[in-house]
């Protein structure tokens, strides 16, 4: 980090009095340790109206811990938090005293903090899946009479009128984010990008003046990223909402134009940087390099797929006589009634997907969100049945075999999420898969439970478990998700050393042209 451009927050007097008018959230002396490991060490800072802060740091430095504390989801060990977003001035001091638990207005809880105008979104989005997206927005409105059962029974007319207006407003909010006409789409049926926009709008509808966004761009394709950035820009410019964004390295260059301040968390302390300084750092590490390693270098074979998908494969180094570890012939996969993998021609005939991976070959499947990348990988691994077609593993048909049989024959799938056993210690997880050697970077995690790891740490541990036995075919669904640059490099080294075939599925994201990033 360039120390000239770095300023340490003053923990005692964090903000000059002249700027208090614009302060929405202020914290000082925040400390948090987990089992003796200090994560946050006397952090102080302030968030001002209309400010856009990028919270930046390596995997496991405590970004999510800080967000959890500032949004009431986690109690700090000590420190002070002052909430001014809603015009009132609420101060919480830590550690809490026993009498704080007696008065509900004094509770430090997510709902209490949200009522003071501090909202958040999660990495895993967390929409209410059984509700339509209009209801997802409508439920967020504060002070709804109908949320009291007494009102709902005694004044049903008034409740209905207010709720009707609330639904109209929710519909307008959806129209503002380009989802007019989709009001009654179920929340678990809309695309990832649309879900993220609904989650952001839901938090705004709940009255958030300060909005914490945990990886709002992760997993999105180019269109999704553009949509979300456009929405965030609008919130800042038109509604003066302050944003605190946590994003992993690959997406940071895409939001730097929007960012006014960068907070860098390292070794438990917070430093402030300018976006320009971070842009310089990002240029050095080239965050999209992991994709270029496969898709651009080594003269890849390119296979264009339906609906803007593309499969990049490195040149095969094996002779033509060898049986490929993975061969897919005319594969067709449905999710329910929806055709996901395969295509119908104008005559109504169904054409499946075919490709072949040789030993040592690397392939990257780049496709937009909703294309069916995860479906394809899960079908190859046996988690979803194929409608028709063949899957050959080392020359033998396996499409009728259960997943564990395919795994025994050397096929390994690492899913993007829910890919680990959260209650196991890292040591136990490695023992479970029989892994004896592990990189130094995870040695300090051995005694910790996987559920206590950061997103990036958990991802690298689960990948190390999955890739233990040097499988013949490795299928990775967005493996770089949540990994910082160091972890990505480490993963790429592990992948390079694998003798088998590797297929990586990633969202299709256009690279940022170098000249454009330089101009901005």
């Amino acid at each position: 980090m360039n120390t000239d451009e770095t300023t340490r927050f003053d923990p005692v007097s964090p903000s000059p009095s002249s700027t208090w008018a614009t302060v929405l959230l202020w914290f000082a002396g925040l400390c948090k340790a987990f089992g003796g490991r200090v994560v946050l060490n006397f952090l102080s800072g302030a968030i001002h109206r209309g400010e856009v802060i990028l919270l930046h740091g390596d995997n496991g430095v405590g970004k999510t811990t800080l967000i959890d504390i500032l949004t009431g989801n986690l109690l700090p060990d000590r420190g002070q938090l002052r909430l001014l977003a809603n015009g009132s001035d609420e101060t919480f001091s830590f550690p809490r005293h026993w009498w704080n638990t007696l008065i509900s207005a004094d509770h430090f809880t997510p709902e209490r903090v949200a009522q003071e105008g501090v909202g958040r979104t999660w990495q895993e989005i967390r929409l209410f899946g059984t509700q339509d997206i209009e209801a997802n927005i409508a439920v967020a409105k504060q002070l709804q009479h109908g949320e009291s059962p007494v009102w709902a029974i005694l004044r049903p007319g008034a409740v209905r009128r207010q709720d009707r207006q609330n639904r109209v407003d929710a519909g307008n909010a959806l129209a503002a984010i380009g989802l007019a006409g989709r009001e009654h789409s179920s929340a678990d049926m809309v695309s990832l990008g649309q879900s993220k926009k609904v989650a952001i709008m839901r938090a705004v509808r709940a009255g958030a003046k300060v909005l914490f966004l945990d990886e709002p761009l992760s997993g999105l394709d180019s269109d999704g990223i553009a949509d979300v950035i456009s929405l965030l820009t609008k919130l800042v410019r038109e509604h003066k909402i302050a944003l605190v964004i946590v994003e992993h390295d690959a997406n940071i260059p895409r939001i730097l134009d929007l960012v006014s301040t960068v907070w860098t968390l390292n070794d438990g302390s917070l430093t402030v940087q300018t976006p320009e300084a971070v842009r310089e750092e990002m240029r050095e590490v080239e965050p999209t390099g992991y994709l270029r390693g496969i898709s651009v270098a080594s003269q890849p074979q390119t296979m264009n797929l339906p609906h803007n998908g593309v499969l990049f494969q490195t040149q095969s180094e094996t002779s033509g006589g060898q049986v490929p570890p993975l061969e897919v012939r005319d594969l067709v996969v449905h999710r329910g009634r929806r055709l996901v993998i395969g295509q119908r021609d104008p005559d109504g005939r169904l054409h499946g997907m075919s490709f072949c991976l040789h030993r040592g070959q690397r392939a990257t499947l780049l496709a937009p969100n909703g294309w069916g990348k995860t479906t394809l990988l899960e079908c190859l691994a046996g988690l979803i049945p194929a409608s028709c077609g063949s899957i050959l593993l080392n020359g033998e048909e396996v499409q009728d075999l259960p997943p564990w049989e395919r795994a025994r024959q050397g096929l390994c799938l690492a899913q993007a999420r829910d890919n680990s056993f959260p209650q196991l210690l890292v040591r136990e997880a490695f023992r479970l898969v029989g892994r004896k050697d592990y990189p130094d970077s995870v040695r300090h995690l051995m005694g910790r439970r996987i559920s206590q790891l950061s997103g990036g740490e958990a991802q690298i541990v689960s990948l190390l478990c999955a890739l233990n036995d040097a499988p013949a075919v490795v299928l990775l669904d967005e493996p770089h998700l949540a990994l910082d640059h160091g972890a990505q490099t480490e993963l790429n080294c592990i992948l390079d050393a694998l003798p088998g075939a590797v297929l990586i599925a990633e969202p299709k994201v256009l690279a940022i042209p170098q000249d454009q990033s330089e101009q901005s």
Binding site: P110, V139, S148, A152, R337
Partner: protein, 311 residues
């Protein structure tokens, strides 16, 4: 008593129970094993108020509702941060505690319903024939009318509640409690309210049962009964209005189907013992429900009339 009147009254009682449990299980996503205990609170309170003070049905049942609503705090307050297995265990503890009270709050030599012999222990209490609006509840027709009235009122109130923002709040709480709290919603209060409403409604059904069976004993608060109530809701389907009604119909179909099996002795499982019991019918009923639950979990996990959605 006319057989069809018996079936119809039985249906109104169990449909009311299922509607109330659907609030907790279907809308809040909480599995409770204490529901039969709140049903028994309604039964016992009605029995005591009508026997000791000569109250007619509505005030005696109303008192049962009030007592059940207050005692619902015994479940909702200690468990307000729990979901899933932990909530289930809390409800089991409350069920055991209340069933223990019904079983053990008695002494010899005292009148049943008195302060020292409140429940008359395992011997149970007979219930005085009650009346409502001057109509004697000895008449099956009057009982049926009362049962239909209670069912319609409870269904209407539940419908109004669950189609209001309160219902939306409960469903969102079931989907993701933390996300809802992050929107500034007091989900713990909503849960306390939902459990109080469900306990009040099931206590009303319990009072109707006591007026119908004219007898109440600790078996009505047993764990078997709670499991049976849960099974009715799960088999019918949760999270909508058809499910509880379908579940109640299934309960009656199974119960009556078993009664006509050739190896069941005549008179086993008489109408006065449709709830509680310990006879062959009750055992077979539990087995039939278990089998049906296993089949449904495999082939239609959303229940017979649950929400069905293709991918």
């Amino acid at each position: 008593m006319n057989y069809w009147f018996h079936l119809a009254i039985y249906f109104t009682i169990f449909a009311t129970v299922a509607i109330s449990l659907n609030i907790v299980t279907g809308y809040c996503g909480l599995f409770t094993l204490a529901h039969a205990a709140y049903f028994a609170i309604g039964s016992y309170t009605f029995a005591i108020a009508s026997a000791n003070w000569g109250w007619s049905f509505l005030p005696a049942a109303g008192l049962g509702v009030v007592v059940a609503v207050i005692l619902s705090l015994a479940l909702s307050v200690p468990s307000w941060r729990f979901r899933g297995d932990n909530f289930l265990l809390m409800s089991l503890a409350v069920q055991a505690m209340l069933a223990g009270i019904f079983q053990n709050w008695w002494s010899t030599g005292s009148t049943p319903g008195s302060w020292t012999n409140l429940t008359n222990g395992a011997s149970g209490m007979s219930v005085r024939a009650s009346e409502v609006f001057g109509l004697s509840l000895r008449e099956p027709g009057h009982l049926l009318l009362l049962g239909i009235g209670i069912l319609l009122v409870c269904a209407f109130i539940t419908r109004v509640l669950l189609s209001s923002p309160f219902g939306r709040l409960l469903v969102c709480m079931r989907d993701d409690e933390l996300a809802l709290r992050g929107l500034g919603k007091n989900v713990r209060l909503a849960r306390v309210q939902a459990l109080a409403i469900a306990s009040g409604i099931v206590a009303l059904a319990g009072a109707l049962y006591a007026a119908y069976a004219r007898f109440v004993d600790p078996q009505v608060a047993s764990l078997d009964q709670s499991i049976l109530m849960l099974a009715v809701v799960l088999i019918g389907g949760t999270g909508n209005f058809r499910g509880p009604l379908v579940g109640a119909v299934c309960l009656i179909a199974i119960e009556e189907g078993i009664r006509f099996l050739p190896f069941i002795e005549a008179g086993a499982g008489t109408t006065a013992r449709v709830i509680g019991g310990g006879d062959v019918v009750a055992s077979l009923r539990i087995m039939a429900y278990g089998l049906l639950l296993v089949l449904l979990m495999h082939f239609r996990p959303q229940g017979i009339a649950g929400r069905y959605r293709t991918a």
